[in-house]
């Protein structure tokens, strides 16, 4: 259930393309060049600045378990560090 979708980019009247069927650059015009259809741009809905390759469900599941492992370990490490920081600060700066 990816958000990959095909977007049909509207073709401008003045757009040109180099076509092997013709000698020179010609405007894209279905009447002139019936070999070429309107340009289809396949896009995926991507988070800003991040590429989203198409992966199988099994790969995503496997990655999610990896994220779970590192994530839970990471949170516990963070909390342990904060615990030590609190203990250290309370020892270093006791209430007078």
């Amino acid at each position: 259930m990816t958000t990959q979708h095909n977007q049909t980019a509207p073709v401008s009247q003045n757009a040109t393309h180099s076509c092997c069927k013709h000698d020179s650059i010609q405007p894209i015009d279905s009447a002139v060049c019936q070999q070429h259809q309107q340009q289809k741009t396949a896009t995926t809905q991507v988070p800003s600045g991040m590429k989203k390759p198409v992966r199988t469900e099994a790969e995503n599941l496997s990655s999610s378990f990896t994220v779970m492992g590192y994530g839970m370990l990471g949170i516990f490490i963070f909390m342990a560090i904060f615990f030590l920081a609190i203990k250290g600060m309370m020892k270093a700066f006791p209430e007078k």
Partner: protein
């Protein structure tokens, strides 16, 4: 006379729009009658009505020939920034506040200014439950991949389990902006439903004997915390979080900035301003702007129902994680230091609702058992845990996607 140009809203109206208007009305009903998170659900509900009347000028305005567009293509054209389509107020708010992540971060400043870390300093050990109760986030990420969502979308859905609105919006906006609407609705709705979600899970996982464990520690509750510690804590947390996971710095940093304003003692006006004016103003804008993503085209899909369901699972697994961690810990603890497993469930970020729920459950089992202080301490730890979890999700998912 072209009827469709005279009454464009009527001619573009579909059953999906009606469904969304009813959804908006339901959110307003829940906010007012049941008082479920009214600060967010009411603006979101009204905003949902506002954006689901076709050709709503709150979303966009066509400069020129309206007949060139249908309501659907007009919205697509707005997304593409085409000439001739002007964004409406909600679209401007979205671009300025949500897409830039400014609104959630300003809310974090306000939340930070409201948090008192004192109870946590008296029982810092309870931080661990704030970690364990984030299990629901990661479990839901895995489950979401089984439902066909890719890793980024799954992470955005899983973060509902952080039980923290701004964190959910922040991560969802980065990873799956198209799912921002249902994720926000799910996050805020389930936060309000904690008194209904947690008790059955806790009863299923614990015995009566476990629920009656006492945790009162009079000396711990009376421990004084120095002002230096209260001031240094937000700075130290920010530096540590930033060094280990820079991706978490926006979330953690703004939360701790708000807390520093509160604890420094020389910015009382700013602290009060953050807790009141800033919180209220940004909440109004955030709620109604989130609703701009709740258009029929985006919301009335099978995905939305699945997200709502997965959000509930996230909260259930959060409770499961906290309770089971406490039970596991009790296997190694001496009798006088055992932890009441219900307190483990307070490790979610729904403050102070979860703490109150657990205290009331403890009172039901044993009137002499006062779990409020350890529950509050754990709940505060959960607020840190949820922010850290959000930061870790932001850092880890792009690495493994």
């Amino acid at each position: 006379m072209d009827f469709s140009l005279l009454f464009p809203a009527l001619t573009s109206f579909t059953w999906q729009h009606l469904v969304m208007i009813l959804v908006g009305a339901t959110l307003i009903f829940l906010a007012i009658k049941k008082e479920y998170e009214p600060t967010l659900l009411l603006p979101m509900g009204f905003g949902a009505i506002l954006v689901n009347i076709p050709w709503s000028s709150a979303l966009l305005a066509v400069q020129g020939e309206m007949s060139n567009y249908s309501w659907l293509t007009a919205q697509e054209a707005l997304k593409l920034g085409e000439h001739g389509i002007e964004p409406g107020a909600l679209s401007v708010f979205f671009s300025a506040g949500i897409a830039t992540e400014v609104f959630p971060l300003l809310i974090f400043v306000a939340i930070g200014a409201m948090i008192d870390f004192g109870p946590l300093f008296r029982n810092p050990f309870l931080l661990l439950f704030g970690a364990a109760a984030q299990f629901g986030i990661f479990a839901t990420v895995a489950l979401s991949t089984l439902c066909g969502f890719d890793l980024f979308q799954s992470a955005a859905i899983g973060i509902i389990g952080a039980a923290d609105g701004p964190t959910s919006i922040f991560v969802a906006n980065k990873f799956a902006p198209d799912l921002l609407g249902p994720i926000s609705v799910a996050a805020y709705s389930y936060m309000a439903l904690v008194p209904i979600i947690q008790p059955p899970v806790i009863y299923a996982l614990t015995s009566k004997r476990e629920r009656r464990i006492h945790m009162t520690s009079p000396t711990a509750n009376n421990k004084k915390i120095s002002r230096t510690t209260m001031i240094l804590f937000p700075i130290v947390v920010t530096v540590i979080a930033g060094i280990i996971a820079p991706a978490s710095l926006a979330l953690v940093g703004f939360l701790m900035f708000g807390n520093l304003i509160r604890e420094c003692g020389v910015l009382n006006k700013l602290s009060l301003g953050a807790q009141n004016e800033l919180a209220n103003l940004v909440t109004i804008l955030l709620g109604i702007t989130i609703a701009s993503t709740m258009t029929a085209e985006r919301f009335v899909r099978l995905d939305t129902l699945m997200i709502i369901g997965l959000g509930l699972i996230a909260f259930i697994f959060d409770t499961f994680g906290g309770v089971m961690f406490a039970k596991g810990l009790n296997l190694f603890m001496p009798k006088h230091m055992k932890v009441n497993p219900m307190v483990g469930a307070c490790g979610i970020s729904a403050f102070p609702m979860s703490a109150r729920v657990i205290h009331n459950m403890g009172q039901k089992e044993d009137k002499t058992n006062f779990l409020l202080m350890p529950a509050i301490s754990t709940n505060v730890g959960g607020q840190i845990g949820s922010v850290v979890a959000g930061g870790l999700i932001l850092a880890l998912v792009p690495l493994f996607a």
